[in-house]
Amino acid sequence: MTQVQQKLEQVTVLFAGDSGDGIQLTGTQFTTNTALFGNDLSTYPDFPAEIRAPLGTIAGVSGFQIHFGSVDIYTPGDRCDVLVVMNAAALKKNLSRLKERGTIILNTSGFDKRNLRLAGIKEGDNPLINRSLEDFKVHEFDITKLTRESLKESTLGTKDRDRCKNMFVLGFVYWMYNRKVDSSIDFLKSKFATKPEILKANITVLKAGYHFADTCETFSNRFEVKPTKMAAGSYRNIIGNQATALGLIAAAHKAKLDLFYGGYPITPASDILHELAKHKNFGIKTFQAEDEIAGICAAIGASFGGDLAVTASSGPGIALKGEALGLAMMLEIPLVVVNVQRGGPSTGLPTKTEQADLMQAVYGRNGEAPIPVIAATSPSDCFTMAFEACRIAIEFMTPVFLLTDGYIANGAEPWRYPKTSDLKEIKVQFAKERTPEDPSYLPYKRNEKLVREWAIPGTKGVEHRLGGLEKDKETGNVSYDPENHEYMVKIRAQKVAEIANHVPLQYFDSGTENSKLLVLGWGSTYGSIKTVVKELATEGIDIAHAQVKYIQPMPRNLGDLLSKFDKILIPEMNNGQFITLIRDQYLVDAKPLNKIKGVPFDALEIKQAILNMLKQ
């Protein structure tokens, strides 16, 4: 039969199934393949909160969404073109995310009585029967059976055979998008190097899926998504948390410091620890502490000793670090604190995303304790900003907050990775040895950037004592002097303010100061806003977009830039936090657009808000 080959600019595929169905693996395999093929892409996994949520239920559904194209891609996509579902619960949970007249690839064996019951679907409502899917293009087949059949020869048990069914799906989708299966075969070979039977079975099923698609009657269309025109360079695919870890390693490497990580596991930050632990050959010391307080305190100890010290956590864990953060600020030693934000408050929604810890980062300490705060905008930007956090921490002898969130931390995208030699230099100037003849050492003497020296143990002649009590402005000795206290509070604030002179100016990502409206974002809303603003441009609506990554202090020119606009819209995945900083600092009547659903903005939501605001 003739197969039409249809060209597409962009496609969103959502793989969904039980958490035991290997959905995440299918998704990452398809991602790697797509990246190597040369498409721009963005992914977003959606785990259930449970380790092994009850089989077949809505709560147990695991999803992986990939958006790829021959054009630039900024988000994992709002709604999907293709929905792959392994069982009834996966369909029920995700159907609303499918575009009108979208395609469904459906495993019929996941729609038996038991599965319907577990998904909470009454028997009469079985979507395979009740015509509710009529408006979609549905391709249904019994994947379980097909998998078993293709493994008739295998010596594996049923359980192990059934585990291969995700490969059937993968093969099927590869065929749909005209792809080669080689990258996945390579992957399987290394993954199952010691388990030849399993390896064989997986490859067999992968190919079976591919060939099935090729030969079965149901499919008449094959799609082609041409490689994206990307800037020249070397690319790889990268996940946010991994990028954060690499950024930290790269910064330590450039600064010629050992990296010390002190932390306590917490979703969704743990993977930073896991990633760092893999690269001990870079001299990285990872310390899994007894709690978050010990994690940051160990990092403070290591920083005092001269390591580049890092701690990471998510909201509840960061809450525990407030007191120690105040100490680090007072000691004026380098420290990077990563908050991979998740749905809050309290334990909240650990596996969901949110941007609601911004105020905690800016204000969540006792006393006047200003700390620089920066935020990453995308998975690969985590690398850039982690590197920046280290640079600022070291160059300004200060703790620095880096905010990412579950969305970009677990998401992936292609990354034009830099060469070591292209990375900024980070200069560490430890205090030098002194002889008894030198005047006595003044640990709180500051340079022109208001920064004091890093004087580490082992350095002759610079022995000194630090502490959390207010300190004399030069000797660092305890001082209760009122004037000194005011001086110190102000100089610490000025030092942080001074950082504004050493970070990039704010720029428009789209539009100009003559645009009708400014969308001002921060952090991970970047992709959603960018997508909308580009779309509006094609519709002839000129919107400006600036994405703030340096939040405390804000870029020097931000006030100026804001003053050009009558209408400013600030979308945030929280109940309005960044907007309070903007209104306070610049007295502009910016308007909020808040989404607090544990998931990123859909482009449509932002578009609607812009259009509404333009009308007013």
Partner: protein, 348 residues
């Protein structure tokens, strides 16, 4: 604690005075902390280390002012966290001689968790736990080591918390070195400080310290000239447990129960007595329970000296072994390779 690895060649012979900082001491006149400071300063030269290789870290409390008075590197950190900060420092810098100074509130109340975890990890550092059975700095509330019934500002009717037995707790937390001394026995304190420093692993030294303002005489039973010899027993490895003003009393074990006997009598002589063995955990556990109120009839004497000592690998050592191993396996780090990862593609 082991001596720092690369002792600088040019170490000049230092004296106690070299370890006196330029800060005025802010403890109350008569406070037991003075004596401890003095003994620590006087054993420092014996470490044979240059000042810059020594670090004192403390939490918050009267006792935690200690680092300010030592002319070494120091950090007066936050309440209860010196143990965690010290762990990180030692992991980062195994070459340093690290000393933690903490109070009974700082280490056993707010800081209890970091203390027990430090002990099990066995970082090679020294903990000086100043136990005055009171919160000094906050003006005299009862502490986790105060006796039941203690009347303080926060417990006008007497406290109702059964206290910790600090050394028993530390034994339970896998400590490898447990010892006790007292502010009023400077010679003993110096001896034990040196043993603590020599121990490779975490040394936990409880120091009974008189707070003459809020808890004066808490350890009177062990310092009063008349009584102290009958109430205290100074342990020596390999020697029998003898004590008393006339050295006439000893300890025997009756099944699992220690009992005081008179060795000047016919019934017992030295060879019947319990022989102190620092290496025996089961004995040490019983010794930590010599914890009677000394004013009680037939109270067991309070042990001073080293109750327990064990050799076990140190965390920072194991950490460095892993780092060296992986470096040997994977070769020197190549950042460009790391950044590129496994699957890359080229756009021209």
């Amino acid at each position: 604690m082991a001596k720092a690895q690369d002792i600088k060649d040019e170490v000049v012979k230092l004296t106690a005075k070299d370890f006196v900082s330029d800060q005025d001491i802010r403890w109350c006149p008569g406070c037991g902390d003075y004596s401890i400071l003095k003994q620590v300063q006087s054993v420092m030269p014996e470490l044979g280390l240059p000042k810059e290789d020594i670090v004192f870290i403390s939490g918050i409390g009267c006792s935690s002012r200690f680092p300010y008075y030592m002319n070494t590197f120091g950090m007066h950190s936050i309440h209860g966290r010196a143990t965690a900060i010290g762990s990180g420092l030692k992991a980062a810098r195994p070459d340093l001689s690290v000393w933690l100074v903490t109070g009974d509130g700082d280490s056993l109340s707010i800081g209890g968790n970091h203390l027990i975890h430090l002990l099990r990890r066995n970082f090679d550092l020294n903990i000086l736990l100043f136990n005055n059975q009171i919160y000094g700095l906050t003006k005299g509330q009862y502490s986790p080591t105060s006796e039941v019934g203690k009347k303080t500002k926060s417990t006008p009717m007497g406290s109702i918390d059964h206290p910790f037995n600090p050394l028993a707790l530390c034994m339970g937390a896998e400590a490898t070195f447990i010892a006790r001394t007292i502010d009023r026995e400077p010679k003993h304190m110096r001896e034990i400080l040196i043993r603590a420093e020599q121990h490779k692993g975490t040394s936990l030294l409880e120091i009974y310290q008189n707070c003459n303002i809020f808890n004066d005489g808490a350890f009177g039973g062990f310092t009063d000239k008349q009584m102290k010899k009958d109430n205290s027993i100074y342990l020596k490895h390999g020697e029998p447990l003898v004590f008393g003003a006339k050295e006439d009393k000893g300890i025997v074990l009756d099944g699992f129960e220690p009992r005081i006997v008179n060795i000047s009598s016919e019934d017992y002589n030295l060879s019947d007595l319990w022989i102190h063995d620092e290496k025996c955990r089961n004995k040490a556990n019983i010794l930590t329970r010599f914890f009677d109120d000394p004013s009680k009839e037939n109270a067991l004497p309070r042990p001073f000296g080293i109750l327990y000592q064990e050799d076990r690998f140190r965390y920072e050592e194991a950490l460095n072994e892993q780092l060296n191993l992986v470096k040997a396996q994977k070769g020197s780090p190549d950042l460009d390779k790391l950044l590129a990862g496994v699957n890359t593609w080229q756009v021209d």
